[in-house]
Amino acid sequence: MLKRLTGSGISLLLGAMLSMTYHPASAEVLVVVSAEAPFTRLTSSDLRDVYLGRRTLIVNGAQVVPLDLTEGTAARSEFYTRYTGQTPAQIKAHWARQIFTGRGQPPQALANSRAVVERLVSDAKALGYIDPSFLDERLRVVTIE
């Protein structure tokens, strides 16, 4: 709504400001995509929906495949706490329910950020979060609005 009211220019500026406010905190986790990915920004609600399995299609109709880290990694709990507002235990309960009731499957979990990076590079549709230290030029940081 805000976007529609102010026009794209202002929204860009706003977006930049918002991402700047997020950057200091995302020192431990970054949401990233392949450099070839067709999008570089996501709304936080889109991101949450994608990771909680509520939707799979976003941004110009392009499919996004979320990638997860295995349980117990620091980046994982940081990511879920920050972007979904839920603890890992809650996320677990959420997926238990989703799976049991047949409504969906959790994102594919990879053992570490490196595996995520490798996967992102090979798959333009993939979306992931990594420890910032694994960020390289093949990836692009997704701005979360």
Binding site: T70, E71, A93, R97, F100, Q105, A109
Partner: protein, 728 residues
């Protein structure tokens, strides 16, 4: 009635609601169970499929990293919830999706040891349920578990994650129970339990159709609508329960609302009824009061209509009614009664001198004395004024009435205290008796009235009974009374004359005029017969005036006929004497007839003059101024006050005839008479003898010149013509 309807329908509604909710709960349990069963079965199939897939892959490839290969192919369930491990025959973990388990020892379940191809469900693991299959189900593993097992451990929450508080509440239940009765996992609200023992066998046997028909269980203090389903192909049962208390809470709330509403409605209804009742009661009360007021008003009006306001005694109208009643009763039962007609003797005087208040007080006091003097059954009534009537019932003889009458007389004779002074009053009573003195009210009243009048005439303070003679007298009285008015106009009065003679030669000195009434039917009447009546009816003065004038006129006529001038004596009554116009009337008579005043002699009795000596003196003075003479009549009979008499300018004394008679009696009598005559003479008055009837007697007086008379009166009254003849 209304309350019965309200409470009845409330009970019906509450019951219906409760039943509907129970049915709803049962349906709900059924639906939830169906869904839950399907999900559990699917989950178990997936698990079993995974186990079989791992076993197949492991057996066929003999690869050491079976799980990672499968994981890469995304053939394994998410590691987030499912931990898949391959253990060797010793239970050592060979490969696992949870790196933390590597190299640890896992104990496969007992069943898994026995049966070669059996999905064994772990008994009791902390928050986990394990499913195990042997790695080699083929014949070579006859010993069982010779080459190890594939084990999947799943977070127990997984199997109850479909619990929705919205439909199952905080006290509902989703549970997975092993065939051994041990609860693998149970969720109620947000709390998850495991390891409990649930006797589902007993529950199932207690109901005919435990699969589809929910039944009530009471387990760990909670009542639930429960369904138990044994899963096909798996050694597990699911148990679904809905808390009766929670499900019925709404119904209870609703019921409470209904009961409350019924209560309010009933209360309102009762209040309305109470208000209506009160209003109607008030209306009735007001009506009754109006009626009572009307009745009491009517009674009051009736009382006023039939009672005297002053004394509260029955009035004339009521008395009349009572007498009529008594007459009727008397006629029927031949009972006699008496009427006493009472009149207070000096009431008018008291009323005039002491005032009306004193008069009223006297009447009230008299009324109460009368009432106490007679029997309770007798009636005392007031006719008005000072007239009372007493109705004595059941008396027939005079000797019965006499004592009562005497009692009344003495009661009234007691002094009254009026206006601060003691007054003596008496009463005159006339009595008439039914049926002797009259057969109707009017006659009886008239008879009693007549008797009372007679009592008055007889000197008051006395009782008089009605007699037929009385009636006759009364008739005469009435005849006279009515005739009197006419008499003056139709010249029925006559004057008769007695002559006055000189004692020595016997020549006529004067005349005395005497009044007579020539009544058309009763004949010649003397004044005593009609003058009291005339006084009562106010005719006394006109008659007296007529006498005075006509006497003078007659005297003048005689003089015109040539007779010598004679004195003319006229009797004056007390009433006439004390009348204010007395002197004026004399002047008028003299003026109209032209008679010389010194010829006129006014005769008065001694007692009359002495009533008010001063007044008499002043009147005499005026009379003397006119030149008219004054004569004392009947001297020597009554009481004489010689000093008073001496002070008055009296010209002549007429010695009473009784005294004259004594002159021919004993010596003592003669002396008395002589002394009296002598006394008059000495006082300087002319003394004449009265009542000399015969010529002999007059001669006797004349011949005895020693007697001190100036002259005498002839005894026989003559008419004017006869007198004229005689004088010739």
């Amino acid at each position: 009635m209304m309350l019965l309807v309200i409470w009845g329908s409330t009970y019906f509604l509450v019951n219906k609601e409760r039943m509907s909710i129970e049915r709803q709960a049962e349906l709900s349990v059924g639906e939830i169970t169906d869904t839950y069963e399907a999900r559990v079965v699917r989950a178990l199939r997936e698990i079993d499929t995974t186990l079989k897939l791992v076993r197949f892959t492991a057996n066929s490839s003999n690869h050491s990293s079976v799980l990672s290969v499968l994981n890469e192919q995304r053939l394994l369930p998410p590691a987030l919830l499912f931990t898949i491990s391959i253990v060797d025959s010793q239970g050592m973990v060979v490969e696992t999706t949870d790196p933390g388990l590597l190299g640890q020892r896992l104990t496969p379940p007992a069943q898994a040891m026995l049966d070669d191809d059996y999905l064994a469900v772990g008994e009791k693991d902390a928050n986990q349920i394990t499913f195990t299959r042997p790695l080699r189900p083929e014949q070579e593993s006859a010993q069982g578990g010779g080459s190890g097992w594939v084990i999947i451990a799943i977070d127990a929450n997984y199997f109850v994650s479909s619990y929705e508080v919205r439909s199952l509440g905080q006290q509902g239940m989703l549970a997975l129970v092993g065939a051994d009765g041990i609860v693998r996992v149970r969720r109620s609200g947000d709390v998850i339990h495991s390891g409990e023992l649930m006797d589902i066998g007993a529950w199932k046997s207690s109901t005919l159709d435990a699969v589809s028909a929910p039944f009530m269980t009471h387990w760990q203090g909670v009542e639930r609508y429960t369904l138990v389903r044994e899963l096909y192909d798996f050694p597990l049962s699911i148990v679904v329960g809905l808390s009766a208390q929670e499900q019925l809470a709404a119904a209870h709330q609703l019921a409470r609302n209904y009961w409350q509403r019924a209560g309010w409605t009933s209360g309102l209804l009762l209040i309305i009824l109470a208000i209506l009742g009160r209003l109607s009661w008030q209306l009735q009360w007001a009506r009754r009061r109006v009626m009572e007021e009307r009745v009491s008003h009517a009674q009051q009006v009736e009382h006023l209509a039939f009672h005297d306001t002053l004394t509260d005694l029955p009035n004339r109208a009521f008395l009349s009614h009572l007498i009529t009643q008594a007459v009727k009763l008397g006629g029927r039962h031949s009972e006699s009664f008496a009427l006493l007609f009472l009149d207070l003797d000096r009431f008018k005087l008291i009323n005039d001198t002491l005032g009306h208040d004193a008069g009223d007080h006297l009447l009230q006091e008299a009324a109460s004395r009368l009432t106490t003097s007679v029997r309770e059954s007798d009636v005392v009534a007031r006719l008005g004024g000072d007239e009372f009537v007493i109705l004595l019932s059941k008396v027939s003889r005079r000797d019965q009435i006499e004592p009562i009458a005497q009692k009344i007389l003495s009661a009234i004779r007691e002094p009254f205290m009026l206006a601060g002074q003691e007054c003596h009053v008496s009463v005159s009573i006339g009595v008439s008796l039914y049926p002797f003195d009259g057969l109707d009210e009017q006659t009886l009243m008239k008879s009693a009235d007549m008797a009372m009048y007679q009592a008055k005439l007889l000197g008051k303070n006395t009782v008089q009974f009605y007699t037929d003679e009385l009636s006759a007298e009364m008739d005469v009285r009435l005849t006279l009374e009515s005739g009197l008015h006419r008499a003056l106009v139709s010249h029925e009065f006559r004057l008769f004359f007695q002559s006055k003679h000189d004692v020595e030669v016997g020549s006529t000195l004067g005349m005395e005029a005497l009044l007579r009434w020539q009544h058309p039917t009763l004949g010649l009447l003397e004044p005593a017969q009609f003058m009291p009546l005339a006084e009562e009816s106010g005719l006394a003065m006109p008659i007296a005036q007529w006498v005075l004038e006509n006497a003078c006129r007659q005297n003048m006529l005689w003089q015109q006929e040539g007779f010598p001038a004679l004195t003319m004596a006229v009797k004056i009554s007390a009433r006439q004497f004390y009348d204010n116009s007395f002197v004026e009337s004399i002047k008028e008579a003299l003026a109209t007839t032209g008679m010389d005043p010194w010829l006129l002699e006014l005769e008065m009795t001694e007692s009359m003059l002495l009533q008010d000596v001063q007044r008499t003196a002043s009147l005499f003075a005026e009379i003397k101024k006119l030149g008219v003479k004054i004569v004392i009549d009947d001297f020597g009979t009554g009481y004489s006050s010689l000093s008073d008499l001496n002070a008055l300018p009296v010209d002549t004394l007429k010695v009473s005839s009784s005294l004259v008679k004594r002159l021919s009696g004993t010596r003592r009598d003669q002396q008395l008479s002589s002394s009296v005559i002598e006394l008059g003479k000495r006082l300087g008055m002319q003394v004449f003898a009265k009542g000399v009837a015969s010529h002999e007697q007059s001669h006797f007086i004349g011949s005895h010149s020693s007697l001190p008379f100036h002259g005498f009166y002839s005894n026989r009254p003559l008419s004017a013509e006869e007198s004229c003849q005689r004088e010739k």
